[in-house]
Symmetry: D2
Amino acid sequence: RSWIHHSAALQSGSASKSTFFAPVEDAMLPPGTFKDRVAFITGGGTGLGRAMTTTLSQLGAVCVIASRKLDVLQKTAEEISSQTGNKVHVVQCDVKDPQAVSGCVDMMESLTGLPDIIINNAAGNFVCPSERLSPNGWKSITDIVLNGTAYVTLELGKRLIQNQKGASFLAITTIYAESGSGFVVPSASAKAGVEALYKSLAAEWGRYGHRFNIIQPGPIRTKGAFSRLDPTGRFEKAMIDRIPTGRLGKPEEVANLAAYISSNYATWMSGAVIRLDGGEYVSMAGEFNELRRVTPEEWKMMETMIRSTKGS
Amino acid sequence: RSWIHHSAALQSGSASKSTFFAPVEDAMLPPGTFKDRVAFITGGGTGLGRAMTTTLSQLGAVCVIASRKLDVLQKTAEEISSQTGNKVHVVQCDVKDPQAVSGCVDMMESLTGLPDIIINNAAGNFVCPSERLSPNGWKSITDIVLNGTAYVTLELGKRLIQNQKGASFLAITTIYAESGSGFVVPSASAKAGVEALYKSLAAEWGRYGHRFNIIQPGPIRTKGAFSRLDPTGRFEKAMIDRIPTGRLGKPEEVANLAAYISSNYATWMSGAVIRLDGGEYVSMAGEFNELRRVTPEEWKMMETMIRSTKGS
Amino acid sequence: RSWIHHSAALQSGSASKSTFFAPVEDAMLPPGTFKDRVAFITGGGTGLGRAMTTTLSQLGAVCVIASRKLDVLQKTAEEISSQTGNKVHVVQCDVKDPQAVSGCVDMMESLTGLPDIIINNAAGNFVCPSERLSPNGWKSITDIVLNGTAYVTLELGKRLIQNQKGASFLAITTIYAESGSGFVVPSASAKAGVEALYKSLAAEWGRYGHRFNIIQPGPIRTKGAFSRLDPTGRFEKAMIDRIPTGRLGKPEEVANLAAYISSNYATWMSGAVIRLDGGEYVSMAGEFNELRRVTPEEWKMMETMIRSTKGS
Amino acid sequence: RSWIHHSAALQSGSASKSTFFAPVEDAMLPPGTFKDRVAFITGGGTGLGRAMTTTLSQLGAVCVIASRKLDVLQKTAEEISSQTGNKVHVVQCDVKDPQAVSGCVDMMESLTGLPDIIINNAAGNFVCPSERLSPNGWKSITDIVLNGTAYVTLELGKRLIQNQKGASFLAITTIYAESGSGFVVPSASAKAGVEALYKSLAAEWGRYGHRFNIIQPGPIRTKGAFSRLDPTGRFEKAMIDRIPTGRLGKPEEVANLAAYISSNYATWMSGAVIRLDGGEYVSMAGEFNELRRVTPEEWKMMETMIRSTKGS
Ligand SMILES: NC(=O)c1ccc[n+]([C@@H]2O[C@H](COP(=O)([O-])OP(=O)(O)OC[C@H]3O[C@@H](n4cnc5c(N)ncnc54)[C@H](OP(=O)(O)O)[C@@H]3O)[C@@H](O)[C@H]2O)c1
Ligand SMILES: NC(=O)c1ccc[n+]([C@@H]2O[C@H](COP(=O)([O-])OP(=O)(O)OC[C@H]3O[C@@H](n4cnc5c(N)ncnc54)[C@H](OP(=O)(O)O)[C@@H]3O)[C@@H](O)[C@H]2O)c1
Ligand SMILES: NC(=O)c1ccc[n+]([C@@H]2O[C@H](COP(=O)([O-])OP(=O)(O)OC[C@H]3O[C@@H](n4cnc5c(N)ncnc54)[C@H](OP(=O)(O)O)[C@@H]3O)[C@@H](O)[C@H]2O)c1
Ligand SMILES: NC(=O)c1ccc[n+]([C@@H]2O[C@H](COP(=O)([O-])OP(=O)(O)OC[C@H]3O[C@@H](n4cnc5c(N)ncnc54)[C@H](OP(=O)(O)O)[C@@H]3O)[C@@H](O)[C@H]2O)c1
């Protein structure tokens, strides 16, 4: 009646764990999954937005990408389009301006009609001790992330409702939306707000044919994120060290998940919040996970000590 | 080896459950708990803010209450002060304006010095189908609730840090901050943002002597809340029906919890999120809780049917 | 600066919302995704387990299904195998017995070798007022659901670790694991325990090449679940009414999600908890979602009343 | 329009943060709060259970404490009783045995009548790599923590319901119940199960006059916990370092919170889960909290780099 399997030899942590978890970057869904579908992706010109646009386009969607930098959008659109053979439209739009959002949707309506798939991916962020944040610093992030997402979602939602057209809405948030995090506080607050917005509308607008879901990515190297969150590159190693799968994510891995959620294979998914982070969140949050540093020899000693403890 | 206690007679739900849960509205903490302490309460002129101010004042605190309506604040301050014998200061302040917040803290510094206790309680809300919300409607709420809380918190935090003074911060959110809720979507998003702000700063600013906690109240009759959330009074009965303790909350119950959290009895509490809702949230969220409507006779029938089920 | 879009005509809830959300039941992943892979599915003979086995088998996996009823397993195995052309092995096993679990894994090792994919799907449940539950009733559920999942997971985990073989573990829990729910309390507790087990091991065993994820299904008609949870069929209508997508789920929808999570497309997913419930959870949990019953005429009246409210 | 307050001098983390958060260990509630009340505390002979018993006794309750070691219970009972002047009864009981639980409640009924306050505090735990856990090791913990709590709760609940007597139930869980944690996996699972049990019954048994709440303590030095969780004392420093309030908790701090929750000041609290951990959980879980190690000089460099970043 022993508590411990002595046959189980104590192992030391495999340094090469990431070899178990090689990424697959090909599109996962069947070709043509998004044929005759229109997808609207904010921040689609770079990083994760670009990867999601590429995957949707590859699978047949007509895409519309929107952000502030028209030249970046145009370059991306041409590259994707020439790779996939499907049209990628661009619309310049600063999502924090409701007028601009309305104008952007007007333009999209004339280009492609209202979308079947909406991905709210545009965001801003930078690391900063909170006592250094000015009201402008605070607003610069929440205006893009929370208000921008709300304006895009409400504007499209209203028009889709008036047209009795269903749609899939997806928001890209982050693993610290739920827990909060120091040093990125406006982003944490705004992303938490986005999650509440999407869970709320999942409940309220199902009756109009709309689904709302959320992906919380862990760390994925993109220029936009890493240059403002780890400019010196100093924290990347520590991050990888605590990620159970031993590596950063790839934009294409988010893209495959996003494509699934946005597809008809997921018509029964709404109000879901999906963490895709290599296990980083659970690894950080669990109080005793630091014991991964205990060596087999130390475990043996600790077992002996615990066994010999009497009483409380 | 039966699964079911036949000795346990099936009961029908007690109509009078609320008799078990009579509220106690007296101050709970020892007299003088907040002697020589300064407390700052936004929205302290009405509703829950007024109740929390009353309790803190009664327990010895010098209070400063701030909101937009100076006349309301003054009337409340005089009433509380004359009841408790402790000074209640008033400062007019619209929290959504960072300049006004800064001016308000200037005035507080000259009146009382920086506070030991901060309660972010000011908020706005109204029920509305989300497809009817304009960008202005959205912003009217998030500006007060999320940005207002951030401006107050950041402004006070910075000054307290510069003065190497510790403090307890408390935010009043709501039970739908985590789950989201249709028909109050800007409030749900903004309150979720406030929770992330407070959890983030609990982690980041502990080193400066600051604690950050959250109360999520369930439904409590205040003019401000009920006139905009249930103007016809039609939903109150359904709410009470699903609250396991069978009644709405009392402002004084929130005040006692807030006083505890803000006191030195709770110096080891930080980053906590405390639901005070009579059990409403768990009652709504649990998928099978509607079975409370099954009568003893129906249970007997159901038990027989389940018992006779063969296989899967 | 109006808060409300008057152009947005108030809509009454579409009775036919489920037309927007027609299920797709075909396998989503590319053919051959699981070629040369071995999958072990507990409770694979019926319901969701059968559907997941079918999808994995169709995509190339050799499957091993295990539960108590050998005849049911054999019939299912033959039917799937003849449909997909891939071998489905059966092993009789009562998961609540650690010896039986160990014997089952011995047999699997000799049949197929250790698995690449493990799905802990076996469970038991029945509705019952908690005051009627005997200790045996309590244990009958927690022994299968929590201990059974633990025995299977620990036994396979140890052997995989000794063999330096990576694997994907998936557990099927339920939307009430997080919230709890009356009338299915042993199941709620045991499923919450399973979720903690999987989140814990996601953090701890990543270094051995293992991923751990969770699907929380909402209501899906299977004989096993519905005969013991809604034997009279009385609650189904109310459930569908509160599901934003207006219908129950299909076993094949869970199977597609499970296949994705178990595949190499998801090697960066670990510690994730994915709700697949048509939005039921957020719809139940959000405090104001009952306002979906308000008609356009009533909204007009309520808007007028709110607008005319003065002060707090 | 700067994002950053240059006036806010960058601070280096105060080494002496714990001076801000000195514990108060006196009883908080008014004397006599629990006069004529009977409290039942499992594991009341040691550690947190002893502290809670002391506080309740001091405030007037007649206490009954139960665990396996009669001699420990008796010594504690005498010490508390002689200190407070109120009777503390002892009952030997192994909570994992339903017969023993039933016998224990029989004895309590004859000694004091059924209780008004129930605190499920008994537990077992030890650190261990999960690949070393045998089925017996797993069950040794879940039987005490999950089944033990269930047997006590169901047995008392049934008898209270039959007697139409209301009561407050409190369970002591842990901060890793929600997140899970490696190396204490049976405890994490069992405590998560306890939380689901209590949230479920909060919804189901409100109609019988029962409230159910949960405290999740962070690290508090007790012989029982620390000898089995950190036998070498090696991890304590790292724990304190990441706790925002800079110290471990005190048993009396849990006792004051437990007394509040169990009192009539909290009759509107049910289904609540209260973390009392000095902020440890949010500090661990937030992805960027490690940036607390960045010095003021490094921040200046990082700000410059971020500012000079162009594009995404
Ligand atoms: N990479 C990660 O590790 C990570 C982790 C968690 C979450 N995320 C999330 O993933 C999403 C994409 O991030 P990323 O890593 O791909 O970084 P990114 O390349 O910087 O993407 C951000 C995009 O947002 C656009 N954008 C910014 N402000 C805008 C505005 N006011 N109006 C319209 N568009 C605007 C940017 O385009 P313009 O400059 O042209 O406007 C850019 O294309 C973000 O929501 C981010 O929070 C990323
Ligand atoms: N009552 C409930 O059932 C309930 C439930 C959950 C949460 N809550 C929360 O409890 C808190 C108090 O609500 P309550 O029920 O007591 O309602 P209330 O009486 O309407 O309180 C709101 C207070 O906020 C102040 N306020 C509003 N806008 C402001 C602004 N821009 N700047 C400064 N102050 C402002 C108001 O004062 P002025 O008008 O003078 O500015 C008022 O005193 C709120 O955070 C609310 O969300 C209440
Ligand atoms: N259907 C739903 O609405 C729903 C919703 C949420 C979650 N779920 C979850 O989905 C999973 C599958 O449920 P289902 O709806 O497909 O019901 P089901 O057909 O009754 O499946 C349960 C399976 O578990 C097996 N099982 C039960 N006790 C066992 C034991 N002691 N040892 C080994 N196997 C055992 C059963 O096979 P034997 O009888 O041959 O042992 C059966 O195949 C369960 O985990 C359930 O909790 C279902
Ligand atoms: N201290 C911490 O840092 C910490 C942190 C988080 C949570 N907690 C929780 O706080 C509670 C108290 O822990 P503690 O730190 O005070 O440790 P403790 O002194 O070891 O308390 C555990 C108590 O449980 C009793 N117990 C154990 N097995 C039992 C059984 N089978 N039947 C009846 N009683 C049994 C023990 O008494 P006998 O040996 O006489 O049976 C002992 O009095 C536990 O629930 C623990 O999980 C503690």
